[in-house]
Each structure stands twice: as structure tokens, then as C-alpha cells.
Assembly symmetry: C2
Homo-oligomer: 290 residues x 2
């Protein structure tokens, strides 16, 4: 997590947006420069970057734009996709570039979407993640970057990420120091987990919460599951409950809003940010304030 100040909580009802981070995918049509400008004008404290937007202009330009806008980079998304058959070297090289980019952008957190199943052997795919994580961890540690393992919703187990629960992510992180391998708490992916409260507490106690990411679960789902994320308040997730667990776990980092949703992408970026701010202030922030 990118800590706002060492001993101070970043969550303050009187200064509500200081820990709020716009993930660039939420305003998908915007370039990185437009997103940084939009976030800064809206008074947000941080931005979460996807590599596609960084690659368009190069990492040095991206870092300068974000710094000039006065924003922290809450995370870089994404490394991972480590489970491809026989593509280990290319995948590892790409992940090392992502680690370098995270360091250059000034964020400690590289979000890892680890990849799906190359065949029907799920246990083998999971073992492959373990194996390749071991190859990347020293490289990340040397550069002060943390590999933030993201459990994805089980409906993405086949095609995107064989890490399906926070407990599983924590078990995979366990062999490494807490500042080398962390976990992502993304409400969309893990809200349903009967063990969620205990796992968030465990992640906090281990110092491994790399990022708290919020968006809602729409009910009914959209036809494309990947785009079934909604603005906070538009779905079924109880941000008061989960936020309370995140607060109790001692999380003091930024809160990223990362929404894949065709309707939101079709909207005006600045209006999306204004809605996001209101929903964050009313639904997400109160539970985080000590």
C-alpha cells in the first residue's frame, strides 16, 4: 500500500478524497494524461495505472505526467499471466518489465493477475504460479516492488486467474516477506466468500494488503461477466461491512475504483468521477474512518 503518511490515517470525512484513487480503466476512453488531469481536478489523491495507458506514451512520460499532476500511483496493473504453456520466458520477461515500470512510476504495488488454465489440470496451473512467482520475487524485492496477488472471482478461474480466494492468495504469499508479495482485496472478486472477514484480518495481521479496490457486483449480471462491475451502490455489495473489516485490519493505503462496465465507459469521464466521489464518500469511506 502507498501510505499517505507514516502514522496518520488517510481516511478523513473532512477531507474525503485524499485516499481515493481513479483506476485508469474506469475512464477507459481517456489517455493517461486526460485521466491524470481529471483525477487532479477532482481533488483525488491518487491514480491507479494500467499498462496499456502507460505503454502508449512510455513509462518516463507517464511518471512525469502523474508527478506533475500531484498524484500518487496507488498501483500498476498488471503483471501475471504466468500459466501459459511453454511461454515461461516471455511471460517472465514481461513481468520483469512490469516490475521495472512500477519502480519507475513510483508505486510499490504491482497487481498480479496470475493467468488461467492451459489445460484441465488446475492443480498443475496453480503449482506453475508458485514456481514462477519464486523466479520473480527476488527481482521485485531488489527494486522495492511488491507482487500483489489478486484473487479473481471463481468465474474467471479457467481463463484469467487460478487464484480464486483471498485465503489461497495468502497461502501463496506466505513463503515471502510481506513487502515482497502481497494480496489485493477487490470487493467484486471476493465479496461472496464465507471466510472473508477472517481472511482480511489475516492479510492485515501479516501486513500483506497491497490494495483495497472497490466496485459493485451487479445483479443481474451483464452478458459479459468481465463487464459486470458496477459503481458502488448499484449492486449488492455491503461496503460498510467489508470496509469495516479492512479498517480493522489496519489498512492505511489508497482506495482504488476500478470498474469495467460498458455504460460507465460510454459516459463522460468527469461525470463518472463525480459520481464515484459521491458514492465513495457516502458508501465506502465512513467504514474506513477510525
Amino acid at each position: 500500500m502507498t501510505t499517505v503518511a507514516a502514522q496518520e490515517s488517510p481516511f478523513d470525512l473532512a477531507d474525503p478524497y485524499r485516499a481515493l484513487s481513479l483506476n485508469t480503466v474506469t475512464t477507459k476512453r481517456w489517455t493517461l494524461a486526460e485521466a491524470a488531469d481529471g483525477a487532479a481536478r477532482a481533488g483525488l489523491g491518487a491514480i491507479g495505472l494500467w499498462r496499456d495507458r502507460v505503454d502508449e506514451i512510455g513509462v518516463a512520460s507517464a511518471a512525469k505526467i502523474v508527478a506533475d499532476a500531484g498524484l500518487r500511483v496507488s498501483s500498476l496493473c498488471r503483471g501475471g499471466f504466468l500459466t501459459g504453456p511453454g511461454e515461461a520466458q516471455a511471460a517472465l520477461d514481461d513481468n520483469r518489465r512490469a516490475i521495472d515500470d512500477a519502480a519507475a512510476l513510483g508505486t510499490r504495488e504491482l497487481v498480479m493477475v496470475v493467468g488461467g488454465m492451459p489445460d484441465r489440470d488446475l492443480a498443475a496451473a496453480r503449482a506453475l504460479v508458485d514456481e514462477r512467482l519464486a523466479l520473480l520475487a527476488p527481482y521485485a524485492a531488489e527494486r522495492g516492488v511488491r507482487l500483489a496477488l489478486e484473487p479473481l472471482h471463481p468465474m474467471f478461474c479457467a481463463d484469467r486467474a487460478v487464484i480464486s480466494t483471498l485465503g489461497q492468495a495468502l497461502a501463496m504469499a506466505e513463503p515471502y516477506p510481506a513487502d515482497t508479495v502481497g494480496v489485493v482485496v477487490d470487493t467484486f472478486h471476493i465479496w461472496w466468500d464465507p471466510a472473508l472477514e477472517e481472511r482480511i484480518a489475516q492479510a492485515g495481521a501479516a501486513g500483506r494488503i497491497s490494495s483495497y479496490q472497490v466496485c459493485d457486483w451487479l445483479n443481474p449480471m451483464t452478458a459479459e461477466p468481465l463487464l459486470s462491475r458496477g459503481m458502488m451502490g448499484d449492486g449488492v455489495i455491503d461496503f460498510a461491512a467489508i470496509g469495516g473489516w479492512v479498517r480493522a485490519a489496519g489498512y492505511r493505503g489508497d482506495v482504488e475504483v476500478e470498474i469495467f462496465n460498458a455504460d460507465i465507459w460510454a459516459g463522460d469521464g468527469q461525470e463518472v468521477i463525480e459520481t464515484m466521489k459521491r458514492r465513495y464518500r457516502d458508501l465506502v469511506l465512513p467504514a474506513l474512518v477510525h
Copy 2:
């Protein structure tokens, strides 16, 4: 589980279809009489019934048709939907009718799809299931029917079933005798679970596996998640691995094939059954044979 014979395994490569059960939803366009006839002509040992098909002709006629066809009823689907706001009495009455129907149809297993979230309070919805299960269990026990709790895939947590993992189903079953509350092992819903092997072993040791249901997880998913089930072999599920765990857990009941899939529904019923038999024999059965 409906045991074929007390001490004997129903899984036999030389007599492969004796434990195979056609769930009526797989041949959705068929009436119960057509499904029973199709299953019997194909040499299957059992049939799994949905209540819609039973209700069309009444439970007494349904029981007679199935008995005349020489089939066991592997399960009745479904009771549940216990989480509706303020509809407790209607839901409980309907579940008592389902229990009566299961008894009249000669099956011990009533599959329970427990219902989704009436509001954003997931913990409360889960507590409501516990509470209403306690009201139904004595009624079921008196009639020799087992309430078979079915964990549904987490993508159905909001709208269909707040039981999302086998571990959670086992915890909910734990206060009751094993012949009163069981659990369903349906590959589509739980294949992704990192703890699946341990949970199946635990379910078997507790004598609580009510049903082993098989169908595949299609990748990519279909636009309607509910219809994203595929014929065994058409998706990513490793039936050898999961079947081995089910065998090791001591399961000796029927194996139901329950597929919601628009393409399969559009096909000829008898051809669907023939495909199902081949896939079962080649992909599912070998792992179950001791």
C-alpha cells in the same frame, strides 16, 4: 445417496450405466414420461426429477411412471429459496410439500437451492438459511428425506444461493444427523475451490454426500451464466481428479447429469443421452471404479 446395493459398488466398467442418472433438466423439452422412457431405453439406472415435470402430472403419476420404467429416483430438485423477505410461511410450506413429494417419489435426497440475498446483508441471509433449515429438518427427518444443501457457484450468490462453497454447506449441515442434512457435490459449482479435495473427503467421512452431479464448465462462458454448463468433456473440468476424490470419500450413489445449456436443449433427447453415456463412461466412470 440412493445406494444401489448395500455393500456393493455401483461403479462397474462392465455394466457402466447402472449408476448413471438423467436429470430431467438435461432433456428439458421432454415430459417426465418421455424422460423416463428415454432413460430406461438407454439402460440408465436412475433419473433425477425436477418439480416442474412432477407437478405437471402429479406426484402419484410421476412415481408410477418412474417405477414402471424400472428407474431409481436419484434426487428431487428442488427445495430451498428460503431467504425471501417476509415470505417465510409460503417458503416453508412449499418446502414441506417438496419433502412430501420426495418421500412419495421414493428418493431420500431433496436438493436444496437455498436462495439469494433479499438485500445487501449477506451474513443475515446466511443466518436466515440456518434458521429456516432448523424449521424444516424435523419434518424431513420424520419422512426419511434428507435436505441436500447445494453450494452454488459464487456467481449465483446474489440471486440464487448464498451457500457458495462445500465447506460452508458442511458447516451448515453439521448440527444435524448425516441422514437428515447432506450436501451436493456438483462439479460445475465447486470445481475451482482450492480446498475441494479436503472438503469432499470431509463430506464423505461425515456420510453427507447426497449426490454427485456432473457437468462441465464451458470456457468461454455463455452470455447467460445459468446456461454455461456443458456436456462432460466440452469444458475445463478434470473429472478424473474430482471423481477420484469422490471415490476416496466412499460415495456409492448415483451420478446425475444435470445440464442447463441452450444447444443441448435444442438437440434430440435420445442423442443427448447417447452422448452423455459415452462421456460418462470415458471421462467420469473410470475414476469412480474401485
